[in-house]
């Protein structure tokens, strides 16, 4: 019996001749936040879609709660408790908080054939859930469009948790947010993990990932550069491991050279 909630072992994905992912391995325990770091083109999107059940891996195995599984569709992944929150969040800005929260999974009441959308119950749950994460929806019938970017992100995450997620896959949850908003979202992610969820946080922002992550997997050109516990790696090391780090060092040297030559 393994104590991992979910394991992705040696996942590979090919598109024709292109090797999009090669031998990527990730293991998560309950309550763990793993940050998946990588620059643009590192294969993050392919990996997310594989985790979410959109792509089927060509090699490797997925083990959920000790059982080997195959995801044939996003619904399969969702049924196993792996919920992916994409960047577009799947929220409709003209609709109310409540209607968004329960979109596609509305609570019903009443006798068969005359079932109605139980909007009172839905309002109550939505307000309660948002309240738990410190977002005071002043009125759950207000449009999502009136919420800030961070609040929307939290709403999407909170919705995934309410509908039974055990593993949360978050695609760049902080990329479009300001410093304050990002910290609100990160705080919520930590809180979710502390309640026993496993979180895979996909980002290219080391500064957002480092404070919240328990472990870090760096992806470069479709390959994993390894997974590190937080105690084994520094923020600077992580930065330079992402392709950008090396590049930036080179750029710094070059600029210094240029400055020196122009000063002469």
């Amino acid at each position: 019996m393994s104590d991992y909630l979910v394991q992705f072992n040696n996942i590979s994905k090919f598109f024709g001749k292109v090797i999009a992912l090669k031998d990527v391995t990730m293991k998560l325990k309950k309550g763990e936040i793993m940050c998946l770091l990588g620059d643009n083109g590192a294969g993050k999107s392919t990996l997310i879609k594989t985790l979410a059940g959109v792509h089927r891996p060509d090699e490797g195995e997925i083990i959920v709660e000790g059982k080997k599984t195959i995801f044939d569709s996003p619904k399969d992944a969702l049924d196993m408790g792996i919920a992916t929150v994409y960047q577009d969040l799947a929220l409709v800005s003209l609709m109310s908080v409540t209607r968004n929260f329960f979109m596609g999974r509305e609570p019903m009441k009443g006798p068969p054939f005359f079932k109605t959308f139980d909007i009172e119950k839905a309002n109550k749950i939505a307000a309660e859930r948002m309240g738990q994460i410190g977002i005071d929806v002043r009125d759950p019938s207000q449009a999502v469009g009136t919420m800030s970017g961070g609040e929307r992100q939290c709403l999407a995450i909170s919705r995934a948790i309410y509908f039974g997620a055990k593993v949360l896959v978050l695609d760049e949850p902080t990329s479009a947010l300001g410093v304050h908003q990002a910290s609100v979202v990160l705080k919520y992610i930590v809180k979710a993990a502390s309640q026993g969820l496993a979180v895979i946080l996909i980002t290219h922002n080391v500064h957002h990932a480092y404070p919240v992550g328990n472990s870090f997997t760096v992806l470069n050109r479709g390959k994993s550069l390894g997974t590190y516990e937080k105690k084994d790696i520094s923020r600077e090391k992580l930065l330079s491991m992402m392709a950008g780090g090396e590049e930036l060092n080179k750029l710094e040297v070059e600029l210094r050279e240029m400055n020196r030559s122009s000063a002469n």
């Binding site: 619904k75 994409y86 577009d88 969040l89 799947a90 929220l91 409709v92 800005s93 003209l94 609709m95 209607r99 329960f102 979109m103 596609g104 999974r105 509305e106 019903m108 079932k115 109605t116 959308f117 909007i119 005071d136 002043r138 009125d139 449009a143 469009g145 009136t146 919420m147 800030s148 970017g149």
Partner: protein
């Protein structure tokens, strides 16, 4: 003493978010999409009350007259509004009205079908046309504007061609005699609450004909259909799961799909809805006139969309209300009839219609910004 009162104050502060501005009932009402149309309808009634109050426009006969016109438009406007909330257009409504009329008249007059069977046939054709529109839009991803514009021409052309082929003319009269004793036709052809009008007549409260029967004989079927549809569709939008799916499909197709809303099925059902509403419109009119005309319903699709827009529907979908479209239709119907009671030349009606729509679009646009703006 002072400390006590202070602690009570802090307590209430906790319960009440300090950022929450007191929202008045009026403010809440302002956020409803149908507000503009409701206000417009009230203004229209005040206007005609002043200008034409003593002309008979507001006699029982006059009221039923403009209600009948409003109700006919309202039946298709409500369906158009539902479809617009779902994010699509149907420009083939007007042509469907003509087509449905012929689907009733030709089998009944030329093929000897009983009237009820012809009516069922017309509704079946409507479901087919709506399904075809819907599946075409959903499967190809083409704008519904183009797909249904094509259907506008196809249906109108087919109506004309088929009618001329079978009958040699463009009108099919002679239906009136078939209405009596038909088990189905009465649903579309009976004035209701006649006793109320008879009673009002006997009390000399409403105008009478020379033979003593009241001038206004009863509530026309269109009004009953209109009110019933307005109530049912509003209930669907506000209170059912399908209603939530309609908003979601129109608001963000991909988002809705991602959380498991069957967007395609929702849209197809809404296209069937507009075609069926056009057929209800056609059935009522054909049975009332006793004849079908191939040109019936021309340009009605645009009036229906105009009424839906005045009623608060956004052209981009995801927002609007059925009851708003009903008010929009009431405005147009009242003005189109009321204008006869004033000294204004009726040619100006179209100017009014256009101006009204323009104001509504500007107003709606403002509302949308209000609703979606970040704080």
């Amino acid at each position: 003493m002072s400390t006590k009162s202070k602690s009570i104050e802090t307590k209430t502060d906790f319960n009440q978010d300090e950022r929450l501005k007191k929202v008045s009932k009026l403010r809440l009402l302002l956020n409803r999409p149908e507000l503009g149309a409701l206000g417009g309808a009230i203004l229209v009634f005040i206007f005609f009350g002043i200008v034409a109050g003593d002309t008979g426009m507001f006699s029982a006969y006059g009221v039923l007259n403009f209600l009948d016109v409003s109700a006919n438009l309202g039946i298709i406007a409500i369906a158009a509004a539902m479809l617009m909330i779902g994010g699509e257009f149907d420009l083939s409504i007007g042509s469907m009205i003509g087509f449905a009329g012929i689907c009733i008249a030709i089998p009944a007059i030329y093929w000897g079908w009983p009237l009820w069977m012809s009516i069922i046939f017309a509704f079946s054709m409507a479901v087919l046309v709506g399904y075809f529109n819907g599946i075409l839009v959903v499967r190809t991803g083409l704008p519904s504007f183009i797909v249904t514009l094509a259907m506008l021409f196809i249906l109108r052309g087919a109506t004309l061609a088929i009618t001329r082929l079978i009958t040699g003319r463009t009108q099919v009269p002679g239906l009136r005699v078939l209405i009596e004793d038909d088990p189905l036709a009465w649903i579309f052809a009976t004035d209701t609450f006649k006793w109320v009008f008879t009673w009002l007549g006997s009390m000399n409260l409403i105008a009478l004909r020379t033979d003593g029967t009241p001038l206004a004989t009863g509530i026309p079927p269109s009004v009953i259909w209109f009110i019933a549809l307005a109530i049912i569709t509003t209930w669907i939008l506000m209170k059912t799961r399908y209603g939530n799916w309609i908003f979601a499909s129109g608001g963000d197709k991909n988002g809705a799909n991602n959380v498991g809303v069957p967007v395609g099925r929702v849209k197809i059902s809404l296209f069937i809805g507009t075609a069926v509403a056009a057929t209800i419109f056609a059935t009522i009119q054909v049975l009332d006139a006793g004849s079908a005309d191939t040109m019936r319903g021309t340009l009605k699709e645009l009036e229906a969309i105009a009424a839906a827009v005045v009623g608060g529907c956004l052209l981009t979908g995801g927002y609007g209300s059925a009851i708003g479209a009903a008010f929009g239709a009431l405005i147009f119907g009242t003005v189109s009839m009321g204008i006869f009671y004033t000294d204004v030349d009726t040619d100006w009606f179209k100017v009014f219609l256009g101006a009204m729509m323009l104001i509504a679009v500007i107003f709606n646009n403002y509302i949308r910004r209000k609703v979606t703006e970040s704080k």
